[in-house]
Symmetry: C2
């Protein structure tokens, strides 16, 4: 098929209304942080797995590349077409059906284009919990969550998107449908194809459906804030909370003082229950028994931590509204830092035990190299995942600082991360943004294995080309 013949062929496959070539395609061609803008050959919106397969086959026959796309909320440019005008955006948004819920098996099967919040709501309607939770949940899709192995705020207890998925349906690069949907907790029949597609960012195939794990709804969810004098104390508090509360500890977020000061500055209407301290921890317990039991557990933990000197102060939310307000503080940090101006973001992970040394070393090294630099440090400490963001000195010009220093800042931070066995992408993925960094920092053996897999499953290199890794 010639490239010219492809568009009419696609219209015949999915309907005229679902092949977009004109008008404002910004929602599909520009990421929401406006860092990448592309020009597609067309945006195709198939309505079923069979249509996805037919589109992939037609594109292959025409020698055209595909960029699979969910809610287009990614942070690394993995879902935006390039500028060549030759790539098809394959948007899964029309595939948004909950295919079924099996309460006795604690599973649900969904189309890839379901919005995460709709998945959570469908589980809640069945009296169950789908725990994946992250800032973009109102617009990201479960297919995108799986393609990028999304993390979020409940990973400490329930794991990443990977751990919440039992089975996948995938359209391969050859346009075949792999029906790997499965409600099984145990299945040792061959290679783990599921986990190979999860986190591959659309470079090996297109996720079209998934079977997800559900959990019983906890009877009570409770939140507290605690003030710590040092990052070392936050790690010790984490250990104490894990030992005492086991799996009822479902959230453990840290917020550095500068991060919370930006929230105070830009959102002064948000109450901050605790006075400023070097670190504030948000803890969440989810209790299967009763609210009274959860509260008693929480108070015992925090009293012991006060006695042991791990925390200086604490506040337990007395109502759902107070609990939401505490989470709202945490969730306002990214918005507050946007208000403050551009910064250099790092989505890093470290062994929890390495975090105090990393923070002490890197804070000091950045101050020495860029005097006055400000650190917006917050994140999912329970998972070893920090959003360690670097803002220009007070009163400085943010854009100029980034232009001049972004590469050097990244090198300093990533060197410190890698020296401590850490990751340069904890939960956001590689996409366009970190492809070169990955190629430079991943071991040659790992890169070789990845390239061999890419070449084996996408020999023509047409699935989201140039993202994550190039074929070997």
């Amino acid at each position: 098929m010639t490239r010219d013949a492809l568009i009419p062929a696609l219209r015949a496959l999915v309907g005229d209304a679902n092949v977009l070539t004109d008008g404002d395609l910004g929602a599909y061609t520009r990421d929401w942080r406006k860092r990448w803008t592309g020009v597609p050959l067309a945006v195709v919106r198939p309505g079923s797995t069979a249509e996805v397969a037919a589109v992939v086959k037609a594109a292959a026959a025409a020698g055209v590349s595909l960029v699979p796309q969910g809610g287009h909320t990614g942070l690394v440019g993995g879902g935006t077409p390039d500028a060549s005008g030759t790539q098809l955006v394959l948007n899964l948004g029309r595939m948004n059906r909950v295919r079924g819920i099996d309460p006795a098996n604690l599973t649900m099967t969904v189309d890839a284009g379901c919005i995460l919040q709709a998945v959570q709501a469908a589980a809640a309607d069945a009296g169950l919990l789908f725990p994946l939770s992250l800032a973009a949940e109102g617009s990201c899709t479960i297919g995108g969550n799986l393609a990028t192995n999304a993390g979020g705020t409940q990973v400490l207890r329930y794991g990443n998107a990977r751990e919440l998925c039992l089975g996948l349906e995938v359209v391969t690069a050859a346009g075949e449908v792999w029906d790997g949907l499965s409600g099984l907790r145990k299945d040792n029949t061959g290679y783990d194809l599921r986990d190979l597609f999860i986190g591959s960012e659309g470079t090996l195939g297109v996720i079209t459906g998934a079977t997800l794990k559900l959990y019983p709804q906890p009877v009570a969810r409770m939140t507290a804030l605690a003030a710590c004098a040092s990052i070392d104390d936050t790690v010790r508090l984490l250990q104490a909370a894990q030992a005492r509360c086991g799996a009822t500890l479902t959230g453990f977020e840290v917020m550095g003082d500068f991060a919370l000061s930006l929230v105070r500055k830009h959102f002064p209407q948000l109450p901050q229950p605790l006075p400023p301290s070097p670190w504030t921890v948000l803890l969440e317990l989810s209790d299967a028994e009763s609210e009274a039991h959860g509260r008693a557990q929480f108070e015992a933990l925090l009293e012991q931590a006060l006695e042991d000197g791990l925390i200086a102060d604490a506040a337990v939310a007395e109502s759902v509204a107070q609990s939401k307000a505490m989470w709202h503080l945490r969730e306002s940090i990214p918005l507050a830092q946007s208000e403050e101006g551009l910064n250099i973001k790092h989505d890093i992970a470290l062994p929890v035990s390495a975090i105090p040394d990393f923070v002490a070393h890197t804070d000091a090294a950045l101050q020495a190299a860029f005097p006055g630099v400000r650190l917006v440090n917050f994140g999912h400490l329970g998972d070893g995942n920090l959003h360690y963001n670097v803002q220009c000195p007070e009163g400085g010009a943010a854009a100029a600082f980034l232009r001049e220093h972004e590469d050097a800042v990244n090198a300093l931070v990533y060197d410190a991360v890698c020296a401590r066995g850490g990751s340069i992408s904890a939960e956001h993925g590689i996409g366009e943004l970190k492809r070169e960094e990955l190629a430079a920092r991943k071991s040659p053996v790992a890169l070789g294995l990845m390239r061999a897999i890419k070449a084996a499953l996408d020999p023509q290199g047409r699935m989201n080309p140039g993202r994550v890794v190039a074929a070997g």
Copy 2:
């Protein structure tokens, strides 16, 4: 290198004492159920990752295939050489060092040849829990557990071996070392190589080391037995226990009456606290708070279940000794059925919700096809995993029954499993035993993907050839 030159080369690499060609090699060449016996070119016992890499390179240069081997306790013939006399057994048993424990990160890094029980003990010495637990734990190795994605009795709460591993060290088919050891809970830097090697049964590379997840030790572990009138009631009890106890429910095993009757017959000295009933459930709670709290939870659960008619009777262990005795009952079932004679074993998984229908249908179909046949049905119901074993009619000749009917029994059982979205290998793997069954029952698309991956990572087909899948 010629094949003749290989043995002296291996002796130079790992030392004369670690290249075995003579004497009784039965431990390496005959599986413990004595279903497969092979003849190796040699048994090589490298002492380090570097030695493993050197052995793999030498074997590749000589065109010789390798059979990686851990504790050699597998049930599907995946670790036994073939009869050709041309394969090297690569036994990892000398690599048994705990490389390090990081309590603050809740991780430990070990050589692949560590015995599972030694891994558990090292974690316990650090005041922590490594939860993987299975019958062969005194002799299986963690490398074998990972290569086969072992399951066991704690999967309900902690997952399979896969879920307990954060990072791997692997020697590739090319003899390169991939250092993927990692203490990270989040790491989205490229394809999930770890999970590809886990469960690949040595056909893609040799696992030489692993970083494992640890958990805080629960304060109290408690066990109870409950009598159910039907398999339906066991499933309803599971749901009630999950809803009430959340993650403190760490074990949920079922035992059919015939299975327990074999224990009564062959091990009459073992106390059975409950009178015979169609199904007996073993429940385990692990409490982070206190024994009193766990006991109160347990009693409340069982009282409610009695009231709701889900169970007819229950017994809560009053001491660690009683708890162990209950587990001992469960663990004695495989031994009791061995005493009773050969049977046809099925390690199957189903969606939990499909189990009642599966059991009703398949019990009846087997009775219709093979009147008087006896079903030894037990397993990890919480994971949907049954060991659904078929024994010849009372007084019949077991060997003759197997000879005559094994294929037909397997076809009947596996048809019923597959019709309900189940797996023909829940936790034991494929190996030699189920390779043909897998080729016949796995979807052609999945098999095609598996073959492409095999060809990409082991292009010469020298890693445990013929197991799981042949190269495409």
